[in-house]
Symmetry: C2
Amino acid sequence: MKYLEDLIKEQGEIWPGGIVKVDSFLNHQIDWKLYQEMGKEFYRLFKDDGINKIMTVEASGIGIACVAAQYFKVPMVFAKKYKTSNIDSDLYSAKVHSFTHGNDYNMVVSRKYVNKSDRILLIDDFLANGQALLGLKSIIEQAGATLCGCGIAIEKGFQPGGKLLRDQGIRVESLAIIKSVTDDTIEF
Amino acid sequence: MKYLEDLIKEQGEIWPGGIVKVDSFLNHQIDWKLYQEMGKEFYRLFKDDGINKIMTVEASGIGIACVAAQYFKVPMVFAKKYKTSNIDSDLYSAKVHSFTHGNDYNMVVSRKYVNKSDRILLIDDFLANGQALLGLKSIIEQAGATLCGCGIAIEKGFQPGGKLLRDQGIRVESLAIIKSVTDDTIEF
């Protein structure tokens, strides 16, 4: 999506280790207009798939998923990150490894809010290693619901998450795919 | 706001200790239509105050603040909860006590995204003890920005936060104020 690629080029900051900081419009300060454009685009891409629920995981995905939910006119459910390993019996849970923080966490969703009849679109701000999305996929499978696809703002094409998900037959639509990052350029 | 009060009455669950669970529409599963109605109402209440930024703190406030930002057509900035006590010099921070989790945490905001010219509306899903909002107020003061008011979805009128903030001269607009909770009734 040109709107997003332009913002990445204009405002994205390149940090050591191939990190692209998009704090000024995507995941710390938020550009309301960008969020609307992304919501509209996800709707255009997935409007014929009978989506009746959007899911994400806290925290950065919540805003994008909420704005997108307006276009689909469906509820949004976000998984919570859970500190303890004691999982209540009324929760679905998945263990997720965070490469960013170098640790594992449990994500949980109440059993009340995912069920067999759900056709779910996953939304997230970043796709790098894909672990968070695989956690959400596991929860969807536990509930017997249907995963219709993933809508991602920025995919890091040089990291393995995109291939990992697509190799499992999951439809992944990323609005910007960063092919490579050098010290001073970002290539799409 | 009648729409919100009706949802609380219909779907809110009363848990021991005066806890009202609104997981089914406000802060786990999200009702997109409610979020839009709240956004419109915050805009109606604060549209003449020259708001040029909305702020909240992760996680549950993010969605409401993103949807509201569309009506104000202004950026939204969310404070992040910080695990370590080493605060980078490029961050504003405030120490906040969480009564829910019984611990302290630091909330941080990049210095780049709050500045003197900002006229800020704070948005959050719940107001109980008011500590998170006081943390955000402290960050606004550190930046020399102006706090124009707080837009809250649900205020627990039987807890001290609302009085604490209003006694400091802060305009607080809560879309539903729960006056009391018994074993089987919620009173507004």
